[in-house]
Symmetry: C2
Subunit: 205 residues, 2 copies
């Protein structure tokens, strides 16, 4: 059985296509929208369209940016160390690092990881663009260190391996972020692989 | 810290205004939209606008319907018993009853319940419209029974009490749906109030 309104049904179907939103949640959202002021709904619809029309990717770091701002604000910032580049999987990861306020270099967003099962190879990622950035020879801005900050999944590890083999011959320092126990957890609940990495990566006090 | 794209930020803010969607989920949805095909995003935006532009309320039962279909499909169906009206709180409740395939009468959607704390009185609900429907005198279609199927919350109970006092003097049969133990549950986990109602409402075998 369906609603008596076609427009209501259509919006429920559209909402239900979004990730993590089932039909019940889609119904609840639709009922909320139904009682919402028209202007507010229009601004949501406009924001959706703007995302597709106004957002583009920074020609340097491949992070999301508005079309009129390229290179993006991070790449053009004079306060940042242009000789260090942190390679991440997605724009969300850039945000995570920025939140720490501890990293002052640039970024490079791959937009994915190597995943043969999903048919994603190095050519589907922004690897070419990273290599191109490394070809910069001006000593002031040429990249000295590439930090690989890719999610420690199977696909992520594959990507790290691939990138390190690709980048090292170019004479650039390649590092990866530490894998170990997260702050605030208890050792007994940490999995074996993480504990092993934490032991291997121990540092002298 | 925010994203480097204003359009991305705007959509995250808009999504986060929806009920049950926090900033993390809003970010995830926005990233999904970013990688979605433009046509699909446009159809979501259009569905949002259509909901506000094309949906209206049935002049009889007050349920949602498309603007060009008034009275709604349920109210005009020749297969339905027009002498029984089930009073519910919201359009979702109509859907719940329709799913059972067991109810063949009409509906009346109140669009809320009496809730003095929230400043919602009988005049804010579609009570006038219900009274108006009861004034129909044609014996073929005049309403013989009003079934109150309102959520058994404090506000719902208040509304049931109010409506029964209002409707009984009009010479119409007023009933309410049974409160008791739901199918498939175990007695030991049922709360006192429900068990009491179930005892009171026991039927002879």
């Amino acid at each position: 059985m369906r609603y008596t309104s076609h427009a209501v049904e259509t919006l429920i179907d559209e909402f239900a296509k979004l990730p993590g939103i089932g039909r019940k949640t889609a119904q609840r959202l639709t009922m909320f929208i139904l009682h919402e002021e028209k202007e507010k709904v229009e601004s949501l619809a406009q924001a959706l369209l703007d995302l597709k029309n106004k957002v583009s990717y920074c020609s340097l770091c491949q992070n999301v940016t508005d079309k009129e701002i390229d290179p993006c604000n991070i790449c053009t910032s004079v306060k940042r160390d242009k000789r260090v580049v942190c390679v991440v999987e997605a724009p969300n990861d850039v945000l995570a690092f920025e939140k720490t306020n501890q990293y002052n270099g640039l970024y490079h967003v791959l937009h994915g990881v190597i995943s043969p099962l999903d048919g994603v190879g190095p050519d589907d990622l922004k690897v070419k663009e990273l290599i191109h950035r490394l070809s910069e020879t001006d000593p002031e801005t040429s990249i000295k260190e590439v930090i690989l900050a890719i999610n420690p999944t199977v696909e992520g590890e594959t990507t790290v391996l691939y990138l390190s083999k690709l980048l090292k011959p170019l004479g650039v320092k390649v590092t990866r972020i530490a894998r170990g126990i997260p702050i605030g957890t208890e050792l007994e609940y940490i999995d074996d692989a993480t504990l092993t990495r934490a032991l291997e990566g121990r540092s002298e006090l």
